[in-house]
C-alpha cells in the first residue's frame, strides 16, 4: 500500500513537473509578452500620442525586425498587449492589474504623464515589475525611488528644472547679457505650480527682481491681458511654466503684442515639432523646458528612424521622446544581460548597469539619471540643449533673442 502511494505520488509529481516544465519552456521561448496601458482618449491623449506611443511602436518594430529580444542564445519576438487608460487613474491601475494577472505579461511599459505614473507605481512595485517612468517630473522622485526600488524616474525633479534655469540666468546676468527684471507666469496645474514655487524661491535667492508673478487657470483661452501687462513692465526675462496649448497661445500673443525680452522661455510644448511648424523662423532664440544634443550622431539617427516609422513622418519632441526611447533601450539591454524573464534580476541590472542609448551612456544613481537637459533653445530650426552647460553637446545660449518677424 505504502509503496503504491509513493509510486503513484512520484508518478503524479513527475507528470506535474513535466507539464509545468513544458509550459514554462514553451512560454519562455515563444515570445516576450510586453504590455502597456496608454491614454488613447481623454486629456492625456496629446502627450501620449507625441511622446510615448510612437517610441513604443518604433522600438517594438525595430526589435522584432532584428529577430526579437535576445534571451540566452536565441531571439524571441515581442508580443504586445495594450489598453486605453482613458486618462483616468483608476482605469490605469486596473489595466496594470489586468496585464499582470490576466494577460500574465513579462514586462510592462509605463503610461504617459506624472499623475498616471504615480498612480500605477504601487501596483507595479507590489507585483515586482520594473517601472521606467520616462514622462514624469516630480519633486518627490528621490523619495519615490527609495519607496519603490523597482521604479526609475528618468525625467528628474521640477526643483532641479527651475534651479538650472535660474543658474543660467545668473550666468547671463554676470556676463552683462541681461538685467535683473523677471516676469513669471504659470499654469495653475500640478506641473506649473511645482515649477513656479521652485522658480520663485531660486529667483529671489539669486536677487532677481520678480516684477510679475501670476498664474492662470488651465484652459484659459485669452492670454492677451497677461502678455500686455508683462509688456508694460518691460522685463529682461519672461518665464512661462506653461502646458502645450498655452505655450502656443503665449508665444502667439507675444509676437502680436511685440513682447520681445532678451530671454523668452516657455514650458511644455516648446520642444514639440508642432511648435516649429506653427512659428517657423520665429522660434529662433526661444528657450523652453527640455532640449537634446541635436549634433550627436545617435540623436540624428534616432530622429531619422522616428520620422520613418511614425505615422505622417511625425518627429519626436526634443525632451521626453528621446528619454522614453532610451528607457526602452535600457530595458532591452537589461533583459538581454540577464538572459531570461527574471524581473528581480532585471531591476537589479537597471539599478547598477551602464547602458548605451540614444541620449548617450546612462548609469543610474539611486534609480535616477545624473544628467538632464533642463533648458533648450531653438537655434537654426533645431531645439538644442543649452543648460546645464556641463552636459555633453551643450550649446551656448543665444542672448538676446532676435526680434519677432512678420509671419
Amino acid at each position: 500500500m505504502g509503496t503504491t502511494i509513493t509510486r503513484r505520488m512520484a508518478l503524479l509529481a513527475s507528470v506535474c513537473a513535466a507539464t509545468f516544465g513544458l509550459v514554462a519552456t514553451a512560454h519562455a521561448q515563444a515570445s516576450l509578452k510586453i504590455g502597456y496601458a496608454i491614454s488613447r482618449t481623454g486629456p492625456n491623449t496629446g502627450g501620449a500620442a507625441v511622446t510615448t506611443l510612437p517610441n513604443y511602436e518604433l522600438w517594438v518594430k525595430e526589435v522584432n525586425a532584428a529577430g526579437g529580444i535576445k534571451l540566452g542564445d536565441k531571439r524571441v519576438p515581442i508580443e504586445i498587449v495594450q489598453y486605453d487608460d482613458r486618462s483616468n487613474a483608476e482605469e490605469a491601475v486596473r489595466a496594470i492589474e489586468r496585464l499582470v494577472n490576466q494577460d500574465k505579461v513579462d514586462f510592462i511599459l509605463p503610461p504617459w504623464g506624472t499623475g498616471l505614473n504615480l498612480a500605477v507605481g504601487p501596483t507595479l512595485n507590489r507585483e515586482g515589475y520594473p517601472h521606467l517612468a520616462a514622462t514624469a517630473v516630480t519633486d518627490r522622485a528621490p523619495e519615490l525611488a527609495k519607496r519603490w526600488p523597482n521604479s526609475f524616474w528618468l525625467l528628474g525633479t521640477s526643483a532641479d528644472a527651475a534651479k538650472t534655469l535660474v543658474d543660467l540666468l545668473v550666468k547671463l546676468r554676470d556676463d552683462k547679457a541681461i538685467g535683473d527684471t523677471v516676469a513669471m507666469v504659470s499654469i495653475a496645474d500640478g506641473f506649473g505650480i511645482d515649477l513656479s514655487s521652485a522658480g520663485r524661491k531660486a529667483l529671489t535667492d539669486a536677487k532677481f527682481k520678480l516684477a510679475y508673478d501670476k498664474s492662470y487657470p488651465i484652459g484659459t483661452q485669452d492670454l492677451a491681458p497677461i502678455i500686455n501687462e508683462v509688456k508694460a513692465l518691460n522685463p529682461d526675462v519672461f518665464i512661462a511654466f506653461s502646458y502645450p496649448p498655452d505655450t502656443l497661445a503665449l508665444t502667439e500673443q507675444s509676437r502680436i503684442a511685440g513682447l520681445n525680452p532678451k530671454v523668452f522661455y516657455t514650458g511644455v510644448g516648446t520642444a514639440f515639432p508642432l511648435y516649429r511648424q506653427r512659428f517657423g523662423k520665429n522660434t529662433e532664440g526661444v528657450m523652453g523646458i527640455g532640449g537634446w544634443s541635436g549634433d550627436s550622431p545617435a540623436i540624428k539617427d534616432y530622429l531619422a528612424r522616428h520620422k520613418a516609422s511614425a505615422a505622417n513622418g511625425a518627429e519626436p519632441d526634443r525632451w521626453a521622446s528621446a528619454v522614453t526611447y532610451a528607457s526602452l533601450q535600457m530595458l532591452q539591454q537589461a533583459i538581454e544581460k540577464v538572459g531570461k524573464v527574471d524581473r528581480a534580476a532585471v531591476i537589479k541590472e537597471l539599478q547598477t548597469g551602464t547602458f548605451d542609448t540614444v541620449i548617450g551612456k546612462v548609469k543610474l544613481e539611486n534609480n535616477m539619471p545624473t544628467r538632464y537637459w533642463w533648458v533648450g533653445q531653438w537655434q537654426d530650426g533645431e531645439f538644442y540643449g543649452v543648460a546645464p552647460a556641463a552636459n555633453e553637446g551643450a550649446r551656448k545660449a543665444v542672448v538676446p533673442k532676435p526680434a519677432w518677424v512678420a509671419q
Partner: protein
C-alpha cells in the same frame, strides 16, 4: 411574509459572508474588479436613495466623492485612518446640508444644472486654494491601506447603505419623500416640511458618497483636482441607477453590476472603440428599458400574476 423576510435575510447574510472572503480567494485583478463593483453599487444605491423617491436628478456625485478623496489627500498622513474617514464624512455632510438648504427649492432641470455646476465649483475652489494658499497642486497619498482593506471597508459601507435605505423607506421620512416625489404641492398641503425631508435625505446620500471617495483615494497614490472631481463618475452612477431602476432600493445594484462588468469587458476587448460602443449601449438602455431592470422585473411579475392567478384559483 415572515418566511419570505427570513429567507431573504438568510440569503443576504450568506452573500455577505461569501463576499467577505473575496480578498482571500481572488487574485488582485478580480479583487480590483470587486472593488469597482462595490464602489459603484454603493454610489448608485446612495444616489437612488435620494433621487429615486424625490425624482430629483443629481449630477453632484463627483463633488462629494472628490471631497472625500481630497480629505484623505490632505489629512491621510497626519491623522489615524478612522479619524480621517470621520472628518471626510463630516465635511461631506456639512457641504450637502449647506448645498441642500440653498438649492433643494429648485426643481426639475434647474436642479440638474445646478448639481452639475456644483462639482465644477468645488473643484475650482480646491484649485484656487491649492494654487494661491498651499502652493501645491497634486498631493500624494501614502497611507497604509491595502487593496483588501479597501474592499472590506466598501463591503461594510455597502451593508450600511442597504440598512439605512431599508430603515429610511420604512420611516415617516421615507413616506414623506415618496409623497414629495408624487406631488410636492400635495405633500406641502399634508403638512410635510418638504425642505427638511429633502435636505435630510440629500445629506445622508451625499455623506455616503463622500465616504466612498475617501475609501477609494489610497488606490491612486496621487490626487489632483482633475482626478478627484472626474465628471465621468457622476454620469456613470446616474446611468447605472437608471438602468437598474432608482425607484427601488435594490434597483441600482441591478444596473451597477452589469455595467461595471460591461465596462471592464469593453475596455479589455475593444480598447480603441470603447466610447462608441458605450454610447450605443446607453441609447439602447434609454429606449428599451425606460423604467430600468427593476421596472422590467416588476412588470414581468405583474404579468406573471395576471396570467397564472385565475387559473390557480380555478
Amino acid at each position: 411574509m415572515t418566511l419570505r423576510t427570513t429567507t431573504l435575510g438568510a440569503i443576504a447574510l450568506a452573500a455577505i459572508v461569501l463576499l467577505a472572503f473575496v480578498p482571500r480567494l481572488a487574485n488582485p485583478y478580480y479583487l480590483a474588479l470587486a472593488i469597482s463593483l462595490l464602489q459603484y453599487t454603493v454610489l448608485a444605491t446612495a444616489w437612488g436613495m435620494f433621487s429615486g423617491p424625490t425624482r430629483y436628478v443629481s449630477l453632484a456625485t463627483t463633488a462629494f466623492f472628490g471631497v472625500g478623496a481630497y480629505t484623505v489627500a490632505v489629512l491621510g498622513e497626519v491623522l489615524p485612518w478612522p479619524v480621517v474617514l470621520v472628518v471626510a464624512a463630516s465635511l461631506g455632510a456639512i457641504l450637502a446640508a449647506v448645498v441642500g438648504l440653498s438649492t433643494l427649492r429648485l426643481s426639475g432641470v434647474y436642479f440638474v444644472i445646478f448639481t452639475f455646476g456644483l462639482a465644477e465649483l468645488v473643484r475650482q475652489l480646491v484649485v484656487w486654494f491649492e494654487v494661491n494658499k498651499s502652493r501645491v497642486l497634486g498631493r500624494y497619498v501614502f497611507v497604509n491601506v491595502t487593496q483588501s482593506d479597501i474592499y472590506w471597508q466598501l463591503l461594510i459601507l455597502a451593508i450600511a447603505v442597504f440598512l439605512i435605505g431599508w430603515l429610511v423607506a420604512r420611516s415617516r421620512l421615507g413616506f414623506a419623500l415618496r409623497i414629495i416625489g408624487e406631488d410636492e404641492t400635495v405633500a406641502t398641503h399634508c403638512g410635510i416640511n418638504t425642505t427638511i425631508a429633502k435636505v435630510a435625505l440629500f445629506t445622508i446620500s451625499a455623506t455616503i458618497m463622500t465616504i466612498v471617495g475617501a475609501i477609494m483615494a489610497p488606490r491612486w497614490t496621487y490626487i489632483e483636482p482633475s482626478i478627484a472631481f472626474n465628471a465621468m463618475i457622476s454620469f456613470q452612477v446616474l446611468i447605472m441607477a437608471l438602468l437598474g431602476g432608482a425607484h427601488r432600493l435594490w434597483g441600482p445594484i441591478l444596473g451597477a453590476v452589469p455595467l461595471v462588468i460591461l465596462f471592464e469587458l469593453l475596455s479589455a476587448r475593444f480598447p480603441n472603440t470603447f466610447t462608441i460602443i458605450l454610447g450605443c449601449i446607453f441609447l439602447l438602455i434609454v429606449y428599451l428599458l425606460p423604467r430600468g431592470v427593476a421596472g422590467l422585473l416588476e412588470s414581468g411579475k405583474a404579468r406573471w400574476g395576471e396570467t397564472f392567478k385565475p387559473r390557480a384559483v380555478a
